[in-house]
Symmetry: C2
Subunit: 217 residues, 2 copies
């Protein structure tokens, strides 16, 4: 599992409130539309205070993502390592992601908006890196599943892409609707894994032939 660069979490109360208000505003209006003026106003400090703790708006954003994401990412890797069987691992990933996202729906809103929204110099590259970490975990699980004969129909990267599409877009859509906590339930997580593994068709079962997926060729 790739390592994460260590980033100092907020030590000061002012700094933490700054990051928290930034999270709210980024989630509501997006990175670009949320101005540093709004952020410092919501926090109740002046502008140079923000630049005292963060070297720029981009640095503020990255610090914020590390703060909310890193512990959960390490937890995800640990859960996968402690679980055996492809189906169980996928359930663990999905339940874990749903739990993480419903605990604070502002986080997935910010992350998916910046990952899949318009390109923002500096931010998009950073989020691609963060998203790649998660994708690598899923891809490894798929590889193990293919090797063990538990998965059919495509190679590991293709299957990982499909699974991540299902997972991410569900979270993206549901975390934007009212009451995301009532929607991102463990029952839904488990049923999504069932759909991925068994499908919803009633007809005779055939094995899909998903073409290979190459990231950048």
């Amino acid at each position: 599992m790739p390592t994460l660069q260590a980033v100092r979490p907020p030590t000061n109360d002012t700094e933490e409130r700054l990051l928290d208000k930034a999270l709210t505003l980024f989630a509501d209006k997006g990175y670009e539309a949320a101005s540093v003026r709004e952020i410092i106003e919501a926090t109740g400090v002046t502008r140079p205070v923000l630049y005292y703790y963060c070297s720029s708006k981009e640095d503020l954003f990255q610090r914020l993502v590390h703060w909310k994401h890193d512990a959960a990412y390490r937890e995800l890797g640990k859960i996968v390592n402690e679980t055996s069987g492809c189906a169980n691992r996928l359930r663990a990933i999905l339940r874990g992601s749903f739990t993480f996202c419903s605990a604070d729906p502002r986080v997935p809103r910010v992350m998916f908006q910046t990952t899949f929204g318009p390109h923002i110099p500096g931010i998009s590259e950073f989020m691609a890196e963060v998203g790649g970490l998660r994708f690598a975990i899923v891809q490894q699980v798929m590889q193990d599943g293919v090797d063990a004969g538990e998965l059919l129909g495509g190679d590991a990267p293709s299957l990982a892409l499909i699974f991540c599409c299902l997972m991410d877009q569900q979270i993206n859509v549901l975390s934007r609707l009212p009451h995301p906590k009532r929607r991102l339930t463990p029952e839904l997580a488990d049923s999504m894994v069932d759909v991925f593994l068994n499908g919803v068709g009633s007809g005779k079962r055939t094995v899909p032939k998903v073409p290979p997926f190459q990231g950048n060729s």
Copy 2:
């Protein structure tokens, strides 16, 4: 099938080039980051020319989306009506969407970025409406499939959401990578339908129980 409001397509050459350059810039940089100054500069006209043809930047965007989207949407509805059987209809929707998106990958980039990206007043509401039209078609196909006993495991809205997640996020991801035309192939479309209907697991088949999905409660 819900009707679309009639919007005058570009009659003038200058107007069409304006919309086309706007499409390029919106796809590359997003709605907010693409300025009217860049758009008029790429077109080779002055700023008041843009405001001669469009009443505002928002109007420019909506005109652009209607221009590229409306004919394809009507085509999609027609294809579904002329196709029978749930699996065939889903294949037709996915193949049609892939063809439409690979014909001009700028279009899905703009549409998904504004639909699933940060909220932009005026734009987000408009795109939710446009996206709702497509979702309604998929949902009706699912309803027919459930009624005919061709689909199991959930109600029509839930299944439609899952299918749209698969479809939209695949298009979203692949249309942002290099060579989207080589990626959004009919073979991939068909295999995605197979995954949706049959799954990729090798184990004993069980029927998923997807919890009901309610749009706004």
